[in-house]
Symmetry: C2
Subunit: 190 residues, 2 copies
Amino acid sequence: MSDTERAPRRSDATRHAILVAARERFAAEGYDRATIRAIAKEARIDPSMVMRYYGSKEGLYAAALDVDLGMPDPAGLDPREVGRVLVSHFLDLWEENEVLSSLLRVGTTSQAGAERIQGVFRDQLIPLARQVCPEPEQAATRAALIASQVLGMALTRYVLRLPPAVALGREEIVAWLGPTIQRYLTAPRP
Amino acid sequence: MSDTERAPRRSDATRHAILVAARERFAAEGYDRATIRAIAKEARIDPSMVMRYYGSKEGLYAAALDVDLGMPDPAGLDPREVGRVLVSHFLDLWEENEVLSSLLRVGTTSQAGAERIQGVFRDQLIPLARQVCPEPEQAATRAALIASQVLGMALTRYVLRLPPAVALGREEIVAWLGPTIQRYLTAPRP
DNA sequence: ACCGTAGGCCAACACGTGTTGACATACAAG
DNA sequence: CTTGTATGTCAACACGTGTTGGCCTACGGT
């Protein structure tokens, strides 16, 4: 049951090109403004190919935006440094991976996008909070606080591009947000 | 030069209805998905009236989304309470006024929307930071940090609706975010 | 009572969209 | 070589959009 499919199709390159182009356009313009025609043009194929391989625009979106945050295992970390490590990890994520910008744009645009973010949050962030924070039953709340700060920085810096947020240096962000995250994660309930 | 126009036109009610409907639809669906036809239907008039009174969809958007945060004067406040007061003020703003949800949705959607948020940030948030924070030349940076946390909470709670963020009580949010804002505003640069 | 004008509706245009099916081509198996 | 199938292109459809101009209606000043 390991590899049921062992048929490397000749069209795999095209499929991949479509996905790359889709991530690019979705990230740059959001779900509505990113058109299948523009994606197809960027992938240098015909729009109908997108339909053939992914069924519909929604299907393409679903295929393009499967996101793995790759959260580090907090077990091996200095408990007092976990805030800074997390912020640093998120910055890496946002700067190397346009999938996240795309996800955020689409999340504010469509219900399907919002639900997808809820899924990532539930499956990848809450479990981490559950491991780290003192009272596991508060994990969801604390994860939400962390999400609010991290997504907020991503929003102002990478989507809205408020000039002072863009101007911030990487280590400045870590220094400012690290303690915040640390507190949301481990401080006693106020 | 006080009141150059003293002609209460008969159509003022319609104009107002259009604006109300526009804010409603923009807030609920963002710029692209909110159609002039839907706005007109909600205002119980013909789509062409929107064009007559506001010229274009962009014009309607500009008219519908002039936002005044009504930031309190920090001079009369306990300097140690300013963080909590600001968070509380923002919560009021978000819950009573759908203009802000609208603004956030549109800001992530279109360049024009992002620029509008930049304008609000520059004209209403930075000046406040300049009044409060110790070194006025850092006001922009600190205002950006505040924006990241406040907009992030608004995003997760009112737009993405992450369940734990929605479940948070008003006083919980103030208790968690207040100190964060306070630190971003007045703590020495880390 | 008259009539100019503002307020409002209707039908249509031009355009861009997602989507579809018919047709061409290149590849691999017999 | 022939044939079947995967890969790709082309043109078109049906629909919804922002936008426009013509037309009707009803108010308000004279």
